[in-house]
Symmetry: C2
Subunit: 370 residues, 2 copies
Amino acid sequence: MNNNKLTELNEQAIKYIAVGAAVLGTGGGGDPHIGKLMAMEAIRKYGPVRVVRPEDLGDDDLVVPLSMIGAPTVMNEKIPSTEQMTKPLDLIEKELGRKVNAIMPIEVGGGNSLVPVLAAAERGIPILDADAMGRAFPESQMVTFHLDGIDCSPITMADERGNGVLMHAIDGIWEERMARAITIQMGGSASICDYPVSGAQVKQSAIPHTLSLAYEIGKTLFESKELRQNPIEALLMQLHGYALFHGKAVDIRRRTEGGFTRGEAVFEGTDAQKGRTMRLFFQNEFLLATEDGRSLAVTPDLIALLDQDTGMPITTENLKYGARVTAVGFPCDPKWRTPKGLETVGPQYFGYDTPYVPIEELAAGKGGDL
Amino acid sequence: MNNNKLTELNEQAIKYIAVGAAVLGTGGGGDPHIGKLMAMEAIRKYGPVRVVRPEDLGDDDLVVPLSMIGAPTVMNEKIPSTEQMTKPLDLIEKELGRKVNAIMPIEVGGGNSLVPVLAAAERGIPILDADAMGRAFPESQMVTFHLDGIDCSPITMADERGNGVLMHAIDGIWEERMARAITIQMGGSASICDYPVSGAQVKQSAIPHTLSLAYEIGKTLFESKELRQNPIEALLMQLHGYALFHGKAVDIRRRTEGGFTRGEAVFEGTDAQKGRTMRLFFQNEFLLATEDGRSLAVTPDLIALLDQDTGMPITTENLKYGARVTAVGFPCDPKWRTPKGLETVGPQYFGYDTPYVPIEELAAGKGGDL
C-alpha cells in the first residue's frame, strides 16, 4: 500500500493527498479543501516542497508538527495567512534556540495533512512523510507521542491578528485544556506547534509513510474513474476496509461548542438496505456508527462517509440532508488498540457507553451490542 | 500624604500596607490577608525587601509588574508557592534576554500590593514604590500603562502545577481575553507578569508612591486606635474622602463567573440613617454605590467598606450578612478621569447605565441621577 515513493509535494500530489486525507480524516481534521487551497497557493509561489521519510532523519534532527486547532466550522471562514503559519515555528525555534529540520503533519486526516505545506514552502523546510495519528482526532493529546510519554512542550500558537502564545504544559491533557481555551479566545481556530520531537522519537513513535498512504488513496479514487472501476470497492481493497451501510442522510444535528463541532446524523437505508437505519456520532470526527443498538464501527477504528457515485469522502461539515452515501470502516493503527491507546481515544473517553470491538470482529458478527 | 520614606518592606511595613491596600483595593485586588501571609513568610525566610522610588530608576531599567490574576474566591483557597511566583519572572527574563531591575505591584489595592514580595525576597530584587492603578481594578488592561499605549507584551503566567505560558498579545484587551481564559483553565487563579516597562515608562505612566500611601493609610488606622481617635474620620481627612453611608448588610448576592467575583449588596441605614437603603455593585471591586436611584460614588472613584467600630476595610469576599459598615468614597488618580481613562474603567464599561460624576460633585449635591 505504501511504496514510499513520494519525494516532493507538487500540484498532482497535493490533489491526491487532499482526497486521501479526507478519507483518513473520518469527517474531521480540518476542511481538506482549505488545506488544499493553502498548499496549492504556497507551491505555486515558492515551488514544490521536498518530502523526507522517517528513516532518512538523523536521530538528533528537530521535527516540529504544525497544524490548525479549532472547530472546522470556523476554519472554513478564516483561511490562515503565511504569517499565522510561520509564527508558531518562529516562536518554537526561538524557544529551543535551533532551526527546525523538518515539519510534520500532526494528523494525516483532513486539511491538517496539508496545513504544514504553506510554512514549509515559504521557509524551504522539508515535510515528513509521517504523522502522529494515522487518521484525525479532535484533541491535542490524541497522538502516538502521548502514548509514548513524549513531552508536548514547548507549545506555540498564533492567530490571524498577530497574537502569539508559548506554553509549557505539564502534560498533553493540560495542553489540550489551555490550548483549547486560547483557541476559543482567538475566535475558534488557531495555528499551533506542539510535541516538538527528535528524529529518534519520530522513528519510535510516529506512524510512518502516512502522506504516501493519503497519496495512494487519492490516486485510487481518481484513477478508478478513468479505469471505470467502482471507486469504493477499490478503496476497501486498498485499506482492508468494510462497507458498513448504504443510505441517505435524513437528520443532521451539528453544533459548535467548546471549540468543537459536535453532533449526530441519521441515515435511512436505500436500495437493498431499505428499512435499515444507521446513526453516526461525531466530535469533529466520526467516532461511532450504530444500527439497532449494535455497533458497526467504533473509535479508534476509522469511519468514513463516501459519496455513492464518486467515492469521494464527505466531511462532518459538508454532510447535507439527503446526501446518498456509503459508510465504510477500516482498522486503525495497532498503537491505538493498546490499553493506553483505548484510554486516550476509545469510545468511553468520548462519553459513548459502548465497548471497543475491533472492526474485523464486528464485521465477522462478533460483539458490538451496546 | 506621601512622605516617600518607605525604604524597605519589613514586618511592620507589611502589616500597615496590607490594611492600607485593602482600603485602596475597594473590596478587591485579591485577599489582603493572603498577600500579607505570603509576604510575611517571605521576609522571615529571606529578609526585608528593599524599596526603590520611581525617581531613583535609570531610564533603561527593566521593571516588571508581578501579580495574581483570577477570582478572589479562588485565591483564598490556593496560596501560591515560591515557584509559582518566580516562574513568570524567569520566563520574562528569558524572553527579554536580561535581568529584571525592579518588581512592581500592578495594583496597589488588595493582596496584589504584597504579592510581589515573595519573588522579590527570594531573588533579591527591589520592589518599586508605585503601581499602575492607584487602587484595584478587575481586568488586565485597566492600567495607566494601557492609557499611554504601552505594549502589554510579553506576558508570562504560571500555575501551581508547573504549567507556564508566554503570550504576545496585540493589545491589553487581547491580553485580558487570553489571560482570563488561561486563568480559568488553571483553576481560577494564576501568577502573571505583564506590561514589562522601562524606568522611563514608569516615570511617565505609573502612579508614584502608592506603596507609601498604603503604608500611611494602615499607619493611620492602627495608630488612631492607640490615640483613641475615630479611625474613619482620620482616614477621610487623610484621603480627602467622603462618608457615603452608615448601615448594615441585609442582602449579598455573590457569584464566581467568567473568572470574576460578581454581584451586589444591599445595606439598610442604622442610627441617624434609619430608613435609608444603599446598593453596592461589584466585579471583584466595588464599582458603584447608589441610593434611591442616585449615585453616591461611581468607578473609577474609590469606594471602600469600613467596619464601623475599627475602621478596618472589608473585602467583597469577606462581607457578611449583618455587618455594620461605613461606606466611604474618595477621588481616583486624575489619569482615570480623562476620556480614555473613563472609556477603560468608567461605569459604562462595566455595564452600569449611569454617567460618571466625580465624587466631589456628587458630595456637593451636583448630578448623580441614574
